[in-house]
Amino acid sequence: MKVLLSWLREFAPIEGDPYELADHMSDLGMAVEETRILNPLEGVVVARVADLRPHPKADRIQLVDVQIENGDPMQVCCGAFNMSVGDLIPFATIGTVMPDGMEISQRKMRGEMSNGMCCSAAELGLGSDHDGIMILPEHLETGAPLMQELGLVGDILWDLEINPNRPDAMSVAGVARDLAARLDVPFEIPEWKVPSSGAAEGLASIQIDDGVLCPRFTGRVLRGITVGKSPLWMQMRLTLLGMRPINSVVDVSNYVMLELGTPNHTYDLSLLPNGHIGVRRASDGESITTLDDQERMLQPNDGLIVNEADEPIGIAGVMGGASTEISDTTDSVLVELACWEPQSIARTSQRLGLRSEASARFERGTDWQINVTAVQRFCHLLNEVTPGGIEIVGEVLDVAGTTPDSISVPVRTSRISMLLGRDFSSEEIRNLLTPIGFDVENTDSQDVQLVKIPSFRPDTETETDIAEEVARHYGYGKLGTTIPRSPDAGHLSPQQKLRRVIRQVMTGAGLIEAMPNPFLAPDDITKAALIVEEPVRLLNPLAVEESVLRPSLLPGLLTAVAYNYSHRNMEAKLFETGPVFEASEDSSGLPLETEHLAALISNADAFAATSLLKDLASTLKLEFQLTNVDGLAGLHPTRGATINIGDIEVGSLGEVDPAVLRSYEIEDRCAWLNLRLDLVIEAAISVEGVSYQPVSTFPSSDVDLAFAVGEQVQASEIEMTLRKAAGEELQSLHLFDVFRSGQLDEGVRSLAFSMRLQAKDKTLTDEEVGVVRQRCIEAVENAHPASLRA
C-alpha cells in the first residue's frame, strides 16, 4: 500500500520529518519500504507537440518538434509513437537531471539532433507506465514547471508493507487514523454531502439470498453520466499509488477504494432489467463472461451477482460481467458498494487467477459500517469530476445480509500487563485504544474494561488481540526487556552429542560434509542401481527432476562427486548425514524417515570405507561385524559387505558399482559407507559408561600366527575364532599382513595375525604362552579350511 502525505492530511493534520513519520509507521507495524520525497524535476516543463516526422535513417525513433510558449520549435528524437500533434507532454530540457540520475544533454541520434527528452510517467518517477509519453491535460500552460502544474511539489510518497491482519490499513484513511493516534492529532472521516433528486424507487432494487456471502449491499442510482477523463490531480494520485488512470468513472471507483478501503463496482443501469440485482452462490455448471471477455466456469460457493432473470452478471468481489459493462454511451449507473465473505473471495479469486487490489481488500475483510459513507464519497467525487455534474437519484439503497455482531471483549489490565511485561494502568490502556476506534467502558471490576471492537478491525477478537493493539501503540521498543531463565541447565541430548562426535570422526578422517539436493529425478534411482519399490513422490514438484524424495543418500553424493570431477576436483571425499524416506502404511500417513550417515570417497577402494568404519568403532567403542555379500544394490557386485552390530544390520559398505560410476562419468573407484545413524547412535549410547579394564602391570608376550586360509573364509571369521580361543589373556589382536602368491595353493591366501597376551595377576611363563598359541592354532585349523604357515 502506498500513501501520499497530502492525501493523509485530508484526514488528519499530520506533520513532521518524512523519515521520522516513516519510523512511526514502521513502529506501528506498517513497515515503510520506501520514503520518496517527490522530485521537483527542475527543467521538466509542459510542452506542446508541434510536428511529427519520420527519422530519415531509423524506424524505431521519430522526430518531434516540441514548442514551449511561443518559442521556436525544437527538434527531439523520440522512441515513442503515442502522441499526436497538438498534445501537451512533459519535456525535459537540456541540463535536466532525471530521477534516475541521468543528465539530459544535446546529442545526435543517427545524424539527427535531439534537444531534450519527451518523458513517460515512469521516467519521471510518477508511476510505472513505460509504454508511451505521458499525455497531459489540455488546460496546462506550456513552459510551466511540470511538478508545480501537477501540484506535487514537496509531497511525500511512502510505500508500506501491510500485514494480512490489517484490513484497515489498506486505505489512506486507515493509515491516517493509526498515524494520527501515534502523533496525538485529531482524525476524522468527513461526511460528504451530495444533493439528490427524485426517488430511486422502481429504478433499482437489491436482493440478498445469501446473507453470509454478502453481509451488506449498498447502492445508489446515478444519472447524467458522461464518461470522460478524470482531472489531472486524481490521475496523479492514482498513478502514484500504483493504479493506472482509465476514465472518470473507473478512476473515481479506484480512488474511493484506495481512500476508504472499499472496492466498488458500477453497472450500466439500462442493461439491468428493472434495475434489479440479486446476490447468491453459484451452482454447478454456471458460467459468466467477465469484463475482460473471458468465459469463466463457476463452482458452487463462488459468490455471484445476478439480474432479474437470475443470470450471472458478476463474480462477487472478484470481477464484473461484460453484459452490464459501462460504455461511452452509458447515462445511468447503479453503484455497488458491498461487503463479501473473505474466504469466499479468497478461494474464487485464487482459483480463477483474478487477484486484484479489490480482492486483496475483500480477502482481509472490509469495513461493513463505512458503506454509506463510501457511496456518498463516490457520488461526491463523480459529481465533482463530471463537467456539469451528475444527477444523484433518491436515497441510498441499503440491504443487510448477516452483518457481523458487534463484539465487546472484557480486557483485564493485569493480563495485558503480564503479557506485555510492563505495568499498565487501566487509563493508559483506554488512552491507547480510544484514538484507533476501540471504545472502552468500565465494568464492575476495577481490573476489567469492556473494549468494543470497531467494524474495521475484524481481525481483532480476543483479549490477546487487544494486547497487541496496546503494545503497538505504546511502542514495542518502549516495553523494556527481561530475561526468563529455564529451571534446568541447557544441554544437547546424548543423541545430538553423538551425532556431533560422528561428524567429527568424519572430518577427522579427511571427509568434507556435503549437502546434496534431497529431491531426485525418478531415474536417479535406477541410475544409482538402487532397488526401491515405491519411492515417495512429491505431488506438486517444481520440476520432474526434483519430484522424488531420496530413498538413499547415494544418488545425491554421486551427483556431488560427479560435479567435482567435472570441475577437476578429483579429491572428493564427501559425507552427509540426514534422513532418507520410504513409503509407509503408518496410520499417520507419514512416510518412514530414517537418519543415515553416508560417505563417498573418490579415488579409493573399499578399504577406505572399512578404515572409516574402524575409526568410528574406535571412537564410539562399538564392534561392527562385516559380512561380505555379493550384489548389494548400488555397490560393486564383489566388493560389498553388510555391517552389523550384534544381530542388527546397521548398514553396508564397499565400492560403488563400476557401471554406476560410469553412468556418472566418474572414472575412478569410489569407496562407499552407509550407516543407519539412528541405530548406530542408540548402540553407542548403550555402551557408554561401560566400566574400564585396569591396566595390567605384568609383562606381556607377543604371538604372531600366519595361516593359509581358503578364499571362501572371511578374515574376520579367523579373527573371531582366535579371539575366542585365546581366552581372557588376550590383550589385543589384529590382522597385520595379507598376501596372495603363486607359492600358496590355488584359492588360498595368507593371513597373519599379531596377538598380545597378558595376565592380570602374573607374568605368563613361556609354557603358558605356548599353551595359548597351540590352542589358537588348533581352533583355527579345526574350524576353518586353514593351516598354520611354518
Binding site: 503479557l419 480476543t462 514495542y476 544441554h491 572430518t507 517444481l542 556431488a560
Partner: protein, 356 residues
C-alpha cells in the same frame, strides 16, 4: 729409580696413551691399560710391600694421586669426544623443515552445520535444549495446530510441497475428510507443537532443521533451506521476556555491538507478533547499502504463542504463556562470510566447502 719416579713415569705413560686416542672407541680400547690390576699404575701397588712401614702411607698416597690424575685425564678426553660426536651427529641430521610432503587432510563441516552448531551452542548456554522432528509432516502439525486452519488466507504465505500418497492423498488446503494431507514442513514450528504435546511446561527449547518451500532457486531462495526456531513456555512469560531473550542471543551470537529490536507484524501462530531486526552487522548501525541505510536488518519473526496454539497442544493458556521466534540459518551463514549467492552453498564444490 725411586719409587716416586716409577709412579711418575707410569702416570706420564698413561696420560701419553690417553693423548694418543682419537675417539671414544680408541679411548675405550686403552681403558684396561689405564685402570685396574693389569694397568701399569695398578701393577705398582706391589711397591707398597717393598717399602718401609713408615714410608708406606706416603707411597700409597702418591699412587692414589697418580690414579686420580689419570682418571681425570680420561674423563676429560671422554667428554671431549662425546661433544664432538654430538656435534657431528647434529650436523648430519640437519633438516629443512619446509620440505614437508604432507598435505593436510582434515575434512570440513558444511557451513550450514557449522552455523547451526554455533547457534545451538549459544542457546544451550542460555538454558535451552535442542528439539528435532520429522521433515515430512501432517497438515495438522505444520498448519492446523498452529492456528492456520484449512483455507486460512495466511496459508498462501507458505508455498508448500505436498507428498503423493496415492489414494490417501488429499489435494488442496486441508479441507478433506478421511484423506491425509502430508507435506514437507515449511518451517520447524511443527517441532514446537510436538514438544508442547509431549512435554509439560516449563519449556525452553530451540528447533533447528531443514525446511522446504516450493520456491525456484535463485541468489536468495532455495527450495530446501534451514531454520532455527525457539520456544519458551512458562508461567508469566511476557513480550518483554521475548525482547530480552532476543537481545541476549543477539549479543552472544553477533557480539556486543549488535542489538535487536521488535516491530509489530503478523503471524497466525503468535499474538502479539513481531519482526525481529538486528543492528546491521556490516555498518554496525551507521547505515549502508546492505541495510538500505536504515542501520537495521530484518532477521526473523517472533511473538507470543497464540492462545489457540497453546490450546491445540493441550497447554492451559491462562496458566502458561510463551513466546516463539524463528529465523533462517542459511542467511546467517551468508551474512557472516559475505557470500553473494545462496546457491553456492549447495553446489557441493569442495573448493567452496574447504574454505570453512
Amino acid at each position: 729409580m725411586s719409587v716416586y719416579d716409577q709412579i711418575a713415569e707410569a702416570q706420564a705413560a698413561a696420560v701419553g696413551e690417553i693423548e694418543k686416542t682419537s675417539d671414544l672407541e680408541s679411548l675405550k680400547a686403552i681403558e684396561p691399560m689405564l685402570f685396574g690390576k693389569k694397568s701399569t699404575l695398578g701393577g705398582l701397588k706391589r711397591l707398597m710391600g717393598e717399602v718401609d712401614a713408615q714410608e708406606r702411607a706416603d707411597v700409597g698416597q702418591a699412587l692414589n694421586e697418580a690414579q686420580l690424575f689419570v682418571r681425570d685425564a680420561h674423563e676429560a678426553a671422554k667428554k671431549k669426544f662425546e661433544l664432538s660426536d654430538r656435534r657431528a651427529q647434529l650436523e648430519t641430521e640437519r633438516l629443512d623443515l619446509t620440505e614437508s610432503l604432507h598435505v593436510a587432510n582434515r575434512g570440513h563441516l558444511h557451513l550450514v552445520t557449522q552455523t547451526m552448531e554455533r547457534l545451538e551452542d549459544v542457546f544451550v548456554g542460555m538454558g535451552f535444549t535442542v528439539s528435532e522432528g520429522p521433515q515430512a509432516e501432517t497438515d495438522w502439525y505444520n498448519f492446523e495446530a498452529l492456528n492456520l486452519p484449512a483455507a486460512h488466507p495466511a496459508r498462501s504465505m507458505f508455498d508448500t510441497l505436498y507428498l503423493d500418497l496415492g489414494e490417501r492423498t488429499e489435494i488442496g488446503d486441508g479441507e478433506g475428510g478421511e484423506a491425509t494431507n502430508i507435506l514437507l514442513r515449511t518451517h520447524t514450528s511443527p517441532v514446537q507443537v510436538r514438544v508442547m504435546e509431549s512435554t509439560a511446561p516449563p519449556i525452553y527449547t530451540v528447533c533447528p532443521g531443514r525446511v522446504f518451500r516450493r520456491d525456484t532457486a535463485d541468489a536468495s531462495h532455495m527450495p530446501v533451506f534451514h531454520q532455527i526456531e525457539g520456544l519458551v513456555v512458562d508461567r508469566g512469560i511476557s513480550l518483554a521476556d521475548l525482547a530480552g531473550t532476543l537481545n541476549e542471543f543477539t549479543a552472544a551470537y553477533f557480539g556486543g555491538a549488535i542489538s535487536s529490536r521488535l516491530r509489530p507484524s503478523y503471524f497466525p501462530f503468535t499474538e502479539p507478533s513481531a519482526e525481529f531486526d538486528i543492528t546491521c552487522v556490516i555498518c554496525e548501525g551507521e547505515g549502508c547499502q546492505t541495510c538500505q541505510r536504515t542501520g537495521w536488518i530484518e532477521l526473523g519473526g517472533c511473538g507470543m504463542v497464540h492462545p489457540n496454539v497453546l490450546a491445540n497442544c493441550g497447554v492451559d493458556s491462562e496458566e502458561w504463556t510463551g513466546f516463539a521466534f524463528g529465523f533462517g540459518i542459511d542467511r546467517l551463514a551468508l551474512m557472516r562470510y559475505g557470500i553473494k549467492d545462496l546457491r553456492d552453498m549447495y553446489t557441493n564444490d569442495v573448493r567452496f566447502l574447504e574454505q570453512f
